[in-house]
Amino acid sequence: MTIAAAQLTRTPHVATIALDSIPLLEIYSFRDAILDDVARGGRISALFGCPISPQRVRLYVALSHADDGSISVAATDVGDAYPSLTPDLPQAHWFEREIAEQWGVVPSGHPWLKPIRFHHSYRKGHDAWSRATGDAILPSVTDFFRVDGEEIHEVAVGPIHAGVIEPGHFRFQCYGEQVFHLEVSLGFQHRGVERALVGGPNKRTIPYMETLAGDTSIGHTTAYCQIVEALARCQTPLRAQVLRGVALELERLANHTGDLGALAGDVGFLPTMSYCGRLRGDFLNSTALICGNRFGRSMVRPGGVLWDVDKQRADDLLARLRPALSDVDNAAQLLWISRSVQARFEDTGRVSKEVAELLGLVGVVARASNVDRDVRRDFPTGIYRFVLVPTMGWPTGDVFARSYVRWLEIQRSGQFVCEQLASLPEGTLRVTPGPLAPNSFALSLVEGWRGEICHVALTDAAGAFAQYKIVDPSFRNWVGMMMALRNQAISDFPLCNKSFNLSYCGHDL
C-alpha cells in the first residue's frame, strides 16, 4: 500500500463517519490519493465542494469499491483554483465543471471548462468565468466545440424538442449526414434543489426528493431515507425494506417497459410501441395500488414506508403483474425477431467498454457496454442484502445492447417482485428515526432504473444538513450519449438518445 492510499479513510458504504475523521489532505496528496485509489479499482461516486469560509472551499471525494463494497473518503481545502484532476482522470470532468460553477473554484488545466447548469456562483464574488454578480447568465449561451472545414455544418436543437419531453440543447458538428461531434448543454430545468436542501431536513425535503427526478421518485427518496437512517442510527423494519425493494423494481419495470416501447416507436415499429405504452401503465398502476400514486409519491419515508400490502393486496398485485410481465415478454420478443428493428438497433450508437470505464458510466448504459456494475449487488442495502437480483449485461455497447439489457432486467425485476409479494415478512412498517448525528458525513447508494444514485449529506453541529449532494445517474451518463453519437448518422440521434433516456431535471437539479 502506498502512502497516498493510506491517506484515504475507507468505510463500509452504509456507515456514517465523523467529519473530523475524514483525512484533510494537501491538494497534491489529494490528487495522488484519488488517482491511486482509482488505479486500485475505485470509482468516483461523488466529488463536490462545500464552502468553509468566504475564501476557502473544501472539496470532498467519495470513491466506491465494488470489490469489497467500501467507500474511500478524503477532503482538501482550496481557494479560487486548484490543479484539475480531469486531464489524468476523465471521469472527474463533469464533477469539476459543477464545482467551478457552484463555488467559483477553477480546476486549472481542465480541458473543457464550461458551466453545466447556467446559474450564478453560490459564493458571492467568486466566479470561475469572472462574470460579475449582476451579469445575466443565459442558458446555453456559451462557446461550443466546433469542427472547422469547408463542408462542415452545425445543427442546433432545443431547448424545446419535438415530443413531450424535457428541455435541453444539443449542438451537432456534421459532415453531411455524419455527426463528428455532439455537445449537450443542459441547465434549463435548474430549480435550485441542492441549495434548498441546506438547513433541512424539513417538511419540503421529501417533496424535493420525490420530484428532483420525478420518474425516479422511489430511487431518490430511498437514497435520502438511507441517509437519514444512517445518521439517526435507525434500523428499518424488514417488511419496509421489502416493500421499498418492490416499489423500486416496479419503478424499473415501468420505465424499462416504456423505454422498449419508445425505442420501437423511434424505428417505426408500432406493435411493440403500442403494447409497451399500455404495459408501462400497468406497472405504474401497480405502484398506485400500493400507495395511491402512479409515481410512488408518499410511499417511502425515513424509517420505513407509509403503506402496507396485506395478503389480499399482494394477491391483487400478482394477478395484475403476472399477465403484464407475460405481455411485455411477448411484446419484446417481436423486437428481437424483426429484422427491420435489428437493422436499426445493431451497431448504432456504440460505446466501448474502455470509454464507459474511462468516463465512469453507470447503470443500464454501463452494463450494455460490458461493464459489470450494479449497486444492488456491489453496495447492497435493505432487502438487496438478502436477495440477489442477478446483474445483466451485454457486450456490444450499441442501441441493441441497451435495449436487450432492459429486457433482461425486466425479467429479473419481475421475478423479484413476484417472489417478494408472495412471501412478505411480518412486522411493522415504520419506525421513527431519532435526531441526526451532528458534524457527520453520510453517503447512500441506490441502483435506480437509470443507474447509480448517490446522495451525500454533511451535517452541522445541530445535525442539520450543511450540504446535501445529489448525483443522479444522468449526471454521469450524458457524456456517454455524446460519445455514442460520434460518427453516427444524425438521423439516428433520436434512437440513440432514447436508448440512454436520461433525465434532464435529475441532472439540472
Binding site: 424545446i160 399500455r278 401503465g281 402512479r294 409519491r297 425477431i337
Partner: protein, 268 residues
C-alpha cells in the same frame, strides 16, 4: 409477420370506454380533498403546519385547501387529530380559474367549456405544443400516456404537435424555471392566436414544491395567461383527459357550462 399478427390478436383491444364509462380508480388514489371545518379542534393548525407547500388556510372561520399548491400527499391527513381533511377518489379536478382551485368542502366549480365561437374552432381538432419548463417528468409522463392506446387521445381530435406554429395552444408543465422563461415566451409567441394555454400539475400552477425559489417563476400564469388549470402532483391521466374534454365541451353532463361557455383568456 405471422408472429406479429398473432401477438396483435393476443394483446387485444385496450382503449378505455371514457367518457361513456366511468374509470375505476385505485382505492388509495388521492383525488379531491374532503374538507370538514366542523371537525377542527379549536386553535389547531396542525394540518397547515404539516403541509409542505403551505396549501392549507386554517383560520377560526375557514379551512381551505388550495389544490393549485396541493401535492396530494398524506401529510395533512396524518397530522390532523380529528379527520377534518381526507381525500376522495374524485379525479375530476380541472378548473378555468386559479380561484376555483380553492376548496373548502363545497362543490368544486369544474372547468366551463369554451365559448361557442372558440369551440367551433377547436372542438373537434385541437393541437397542442407541450412545453416542459422545469417539470420533473412526472407530469410529462402522464401527459404522454394520453397518446397511448389506453386513452387514445387522438380519437377526440386532440394531438401533440412538434411545433408551436402548428399548435392551437400550449400545455405547460413545471414551475417555469428562469432558464426556460425565454423559451416558453418564444413558444407562446410562435403559437398563432386564438390560442389556449393549459397548466398541468402543481408546479405549473403555483410552483409546487419549488414555490419561492429564486430559480423559478411560481407557475405558468406568472409568465403567460392560463385558460385551464389541472391540479395534481402529477395529475392522474384521467384528470388531464377530463380537463381537456371539459374545456372543449366534449362531456355531455350537467354543469359543464351552458352553450355560451367562457371565452379563453385574452391572448393577443
Amino acid at each position: 409477420m405471422h408472429n406479429i399478427i398473432r401477438e396483435r390478436m393476443r394483446q387485444g383491444y385496450r382503449t378505455i370506454a371514457y367518457p361513456k364509462g366511468s374509470p375505476q380508480m385505485p382505492d388509495r388514489f388521492r383525488g379531491l380533498p374532503i374538507v370538514d371545518r366542523t371537525k377542527c379542534p379549536d386553535g389547531c393548525e396542525m394540518c397547515a403546519e404539516a403541509c409542505p407547500t403551505d396549501a392549507i388556510r386554517c383560520e377560526p372561520d375557514a379551512l381551505e385547501v388550495d389544490m393549485g399548491r396541493c401535492l396530494f400527499c398524506v401529510e395533512c391527513q396524518t397530522a390532523c387529530p380529528a379527520g377534518a381533511i381526507s381525500y376522495s377518489g374524485e379525479f375530476r379536478l380541472a378548473t378555468r380559474t386559479r380561484e376555483d382551485l380553492l376548496t373548502d368542502g363545497r362543490a368544486l366549480k369544474l372547468a366551463e367549456q369554451l365559448d361557442a365561437k372558440t369551440r367551433r374552432l377547436f372542438g373537434r381538432s385541437f393541437k397542442l405544443r407541450q412545453v416542459s419548463a422545469g417539470g420533473c417528468n412526472g407530469c410529462e409522463a402522464d401527459v404522454n400516456v394520453l397518446s397511448t392506446v389506453v386513452f387514445d387521445l387522438s380519437r377526440f381530435g386532440i394531438q401533440f404537435v412538434a411545433s408551436p406554429r402548428h399548435a392551437d395552444g400550449l400545455l405547460i408543465t413545471g414551475p417555469v424555471t428562469e432558464n426556460m422563461r425565454l423559451a416558453l415566451l418564444q413558444a407562446y409567441e410562435a403559437t398563432p392566436a386564438p390560442k389556449i394555454v393549459i397548466a398541468v400539475g402543481a408546479c405549473a400552477i403555483s410552483g409546487g414544491p419549488y414555490i419561492g425559489h429564486e430559480e423559478v417563476h411560481n407557475g405558468a400564469d406568472q409568465v403567460v395567461p392560463v385558460d385551464l388549470y389541472v391540479p395534481g402532483c402529477p395529475p392522474h391521466p384521467m384528470t388531464i383527459l377530463d380537463g381537456l374534454l371539459r374545456l372543449l365541451g366534449r362531456l355531455e353532463e350537467p354543469g359543464s357550462g351552458g352553450p355560451g361557455g367562457r371565452a379563453p383568456a385574452l391572448h393577443v
